[in-house]
Every structure is written in structure tokens, then in C-alpha cells.
């Protein structure tokens, strides 16, 4: 269980995180979604004790991270792909971290096996690809077999195979009953991995919802074409739909589905030349949900200059 309460982090006059409060429950994969600069990484770093909050608090299992002794046994984190000394071998990189938490060498070998790096365990990290470094980061997070796993933008810069691997790894971690919190600026990535999503913008919580609800929001409107567009508009408005012209001779109807439009047009003997249900992509839903925040930020930035 992670609880964030009224968390604020200021850099001079700018609030990177602004009175942010949320809980991350165990047993589900929670996504932390927001545009670049929304405060996701800062929040994760405060949760992990790397950054100091200006005010508020972030607790894991009721304690600040710095108060946890041998924390690798309780929390695993992947913050950045480039966090290993390039001159050290993968095995030694993990062994150094493991040693500080009283974890033995056999566990190091086991996590390297799990992330598929056993063959390169004794190669220097400097020669690793981004995907391999990302796997090494996940290996480090799993060293102490923690119940809570946090990942900051784990798929950034990865190729398709790497993304698929991360996705299946996260799913299996959740299936093992762990609490998984991952941040991303990609809704499409979230859709495939998470159960619960926290959307933040400008350091504030904009929405907290299940992935189910996000999907439900993605049904959007229907594009209709008819030689008698004006008559059809009256009929559709009568059905309670809101209708606008798309500027290309077509009508965009919101609040009514395609079969209803077809039936109503037939009943009124209005010919239809086109009937296209359009659904928003998850990215569009996400942009709708964060759009205000992004706009507000642009305005705020202009006015402070």
C-alpha cells in the first residue's frame, strides 16, 4: 500500500507536484499517467526517498522509504535504464546492491536468469543495449522479492520485443500478487497493462479511474452523410442527439448510435450515403482528460513570463 498525502514539491516558484493525494492498492497494477513534465517522476522519486518533498508525505506500508531497513526486501524500483556503472559486470552490479541488503549471490543469479540476462551476467554493463539495461533494472528491482514494484516509464525507448517483454513481466508480477505502480505518458501502453489509472497533469491528480471506464469513454460520435442533411439534422435532434456539420457536407451526431440513426432515417424516408461510427482512440480520451491541464499550463507559463 502506497499513500501519498498532500504531496507538494516546489522548485523555486514552480510546483512540480501540487498537493497530490492518492493511494495505490495492493493486488492490482496501477498506472500513473500524465504528459511529460506532469510530475510523475518527481512523485516516484519522493515516494522512494530520493527527492525531498516541500510538504506533504509519501508512505509505503505506513512508513517513509528512508525508515525502511533493507528496503530491497519490501520495495523494488526501476527509475532509469542508465543507473549501473558501465565498467561493472551485470552480476557484480546486482551483487553490490544485494550485499547491502544481506541478499546472497544465488539470488543474484536467479534474477538474472528470470530477466534473461544469465548469458551476459559476466559482461560489462557498458556494452549492453537499452533493452538489456532495462532488464537489468528490473532484475535489480526483483532482488529482494518485494511486494511493491515501482517503474518509471519502463517502455521508453524500447523496441517492440522489449515492450512485449516488459508488458508480460509486469503482468506476471501482478499475477504473483504484487503491487505494481508504473508511470507512462502513453495511454495505449497503459491500456494493455494496468487495471487502475491515476491521471495527473501539472502535478495534480486529474482523474482516478479504472481502465474499464476509460475504454467506455472512448465511444464518441457517428459521422452521417445524406443528400438531405438539413432534414436529417432535425430528425436526429428530435432523438436527443447533438448534431454539428463536419464542414464537408456530413453531420457529426453525438449521443445516438449508428443503428438508431439508420432506423430513424428509414422511417423518415431520408436516404443515407454514409454512416460511420467513430470511436476515439485511448490517446484521444487521455488528451481530453488532460487537455484542460495542458492548456492551463500554457496560459500560466505565458503569464509568468
Amino acid at each position: 500500500m502506497i499513500s501519498v498525502r498532500e504531496l507538494t514539491k516546489r522548485y523555486g516558484p514552480t510546483a512540480a507536484v501540487d498537493r497530490l493525494s492518492f493511494d495505490v492498492r495492493p493486488g492490482v497494477v496501477t498506472g500513473f499517467l500524465g504528459p511529460n513534465g506532469a510530475g510523475k517522476s518527481t512523485t516516484l522519486r519522493i515516494i522512494l526517498g530520493l527527492h525531498r518533498p516541500t510538504s506533504g508525505e509519501a508512505l509505503i506500508g505506513g512508513r517513509r522509504y528512508e525508515r525502511i531497513r533493507r528496503p530491497l526486501h519490501e520495495v523494488g524500483a526501476v527509475l532509469d535504464a542508465d543507473t549501473a556503472h558501465p565498467g561493472r559486470t551485470a552480476f557484480h552490479h546486482l551483487a553490490c546492491l544485494a550485499r547491502s541488503n544481506g541478499i546472497g549471490g544465488s539470488r543474484v543469479a536467479a534474477v538474472l536468469e528470470r530477466v534473461g540476462l544469465a548469458d551476459v551476467a559476466h559482461k560489462r554493463v557498458g556494452g549492453f543495449s537499452l533493452g538489456m539495461r532495462q532488464r537489468l533494472g528490473i532484475a535489480a528491482a526483483l532482488l529482494g522479492d518485494p511486494a511493491v514494484v515501482l517503474l518509471d516509464e519502463p517502455v521508453n525507448g524500447l523496441d517492440a520485443a522489449g515492450i512485449r517483454w516488459i508488458r508480460s513481466t509486469l503482468r506476471s508480477l501482478a499475477a504473483e500478487g504484487r503491487t505494481v505502480l508504473l508511470s507512462s505518458h502513453l495511454m495505449s501502453e497503459m491500456a494493455l497493462t494496468v487495471d487502475h489509472v491515476l491521471i495527473i497533469g501539472r502535478g495534480r491528480l486529474l482523474a482516478e479511474t479504472s481502465m474499464e471506464q476509460v475504454r467506455a469513454r472512448s465511444g464518441r460520435d457517428v459521422l452521417v452523410r445524406s443528400p438531405r442533411a438539413a432534414d436529417l439534422a432535425v430528425v436526429l435532434t428530435g432523438l436527443g442527439a447533438s448534431v454539428t456539420a463536419d464542414g464537408d457536407g456530413g453531420l457529426v451526431a453525438v449521443g445516438v448510435d449508428a443503428p438508431t440513426i439508420g432506423d430513424a432515417a428509414a422511417a423518415a424516408s431520408i436516404p443515407l450515403h454514409g454512416l460511420t461510427p467513430r470511436s476515439a482512440t485511448l490517446e484521444e480520451v487521455y488528451l481530453e482528460m488532460t487537455g484542460d491541464a495542458a492548456e492551463y499550463r500554457a496560459v500560466a507559463e505565458r503569464t509568468t513570463r
Binding site: L50, E57, E66, P71, D82, T83, H85, L97
Partner: protein, 276 residues
Amino acid sequence: MTTTTIVDDTAAPTAPRPPAFRDAVAAEWMKLRTVRTTYALLAGAAAATLLGLTVLALLVQDYDRAAPAERAAFEAADPTVAVMPFVGFLIGSIGAMVITSEYTTGSIGPGLLAVPQRGLLLGAKATVAATVGAIGGLLFALLSCVGTIVLLGDRPAPLNPWPTWTDAVPTVVGAALVVLTTSAVALGLGAVLRSTAATLVTLGGLGLVVPMFAHALPTTLHLLLASILIPNLAPQLAGADHPYLLSPVGAAAAAVVWVVAALAAGAFALDRRDAG
């Protein structure tokens, strides 16, 4: 609502119980052993020792060719001058890199995630830096003094600084303590500066540049300043013939002040600033 202020965050980390500290030290020791830079710097210190001894060998050769009257004017063949400043700089670089290499490579992040009690982490790093300084200092001071004794044979003062070989013991101990001090101070500076290059430049500046500017000061001030510079503590710790002001105890106190001040600054910086 609970408000956590920065002041609350700087409270002393949970009292480090011995096993946690021991594990942290063991981890830091492993970090040092598993990068090639450490061995490169040790090899550099060995090379500096050989080079210094070569210079002393040339001095001895000159001495043998000189007329008796000239021999009386020779400087002592002192390895603490010809060898140890370079050894101190190279071993001190290892001490600095115990922390600066983590900032440069980003591995400070995982390091702090594994040991989030920052005082404990710095304590473990300081222990390792000081140990490397003590062992490396002792090793190379011993090598260079034994090498010098062999080179000198039964040649007398002023070329020979030690009437008998036992007189070299305080020199070895003093030189080793100075390398230990250098390494621990380098770690503290490294925690503040977060950069190997900046730390080494500062360290070099303290050892080389400050003495040069000090010459511009009035003699008494100059002497006082020169007496507390880390490399100059070696002869004062040994209680040998030297132009400085401190007794061995005073020099030891100066070394302790250097280490405590540098580590306190490092602890403050590590605790106050965001990391990783």
C-alpha cells in the same frame, strides 16, 4: 494532514544497527573491487613509487660522484617528498570515486534505494575510503622507504634521512596517515562536488596551488597555512626535521579536523539535496 518539512527530513537517520552498517560497508567494498579504475589507480600509485625511487637513485648516483664538500650540501633522499604526494593524490582519487563515480554513472540512485539512510551510506563509504587510504598509504610508504633504505646503503646524513632503519618507522606511519586523511577528505569533497574532476582539481589545488599563493603571505601566516596543508602534515606527524609549526599531536589533530570537516560537509550535502 501531516506536513513533513525539510527540517524533519534532516533528522538523524535511524540509528545504524551494526549488521546493517556491516552489510553497507561490505557492499561499498565490493563496489570498489569490481571496477577497473580502482586497479588502474593502484597501478598508477605503484608506478609513481617506482618513478620516485628512480629519481632518488639518480640523486644517490650524483652524491657518489660529488666531492666530499659538495656532499655535505645534499638534500635528504626523502621518499615522502619524491613519492608520497603522488601516491596520496592517486589513492585519494580512489577515495573520491567511491562516491563521485556513482554520481557520474547514475548508480547513486540504486545505491540510495538499497541504503536510503544517507548518513549510514556515507559512513560506509567513508569507512571504505579511509581503509583504502590507510592500506594503500601504508603499502606504498613502506615500499618507498624500504626502497630508499636499500638505495642509500650505508651512506650517511645529510643524504640519508635516517641514522638507522627504525628511524624510518615514524616517517612511514606519518605518510600513511596523510594518505588516509587525503582519501577520506576526497570522499567528503566528492559528496559535495559530485564530480570526480572537480574533486581532484580541488584536492590538487589544496596540495599544490594554495602553497604557491601562500608564498605571497607574510612569513608567519604563510608558515601557519603551510603547516595545516594535508601533504605537509606527514613530516609533522613523524616528528622529523621540518620547518613547520605543529607537534605530532597537533598534526594528528589537524588531520582529524580535515576529515571531520570534509565528511560533515559531505553528509550535509548528501542529506539536504535531492539525489538520483
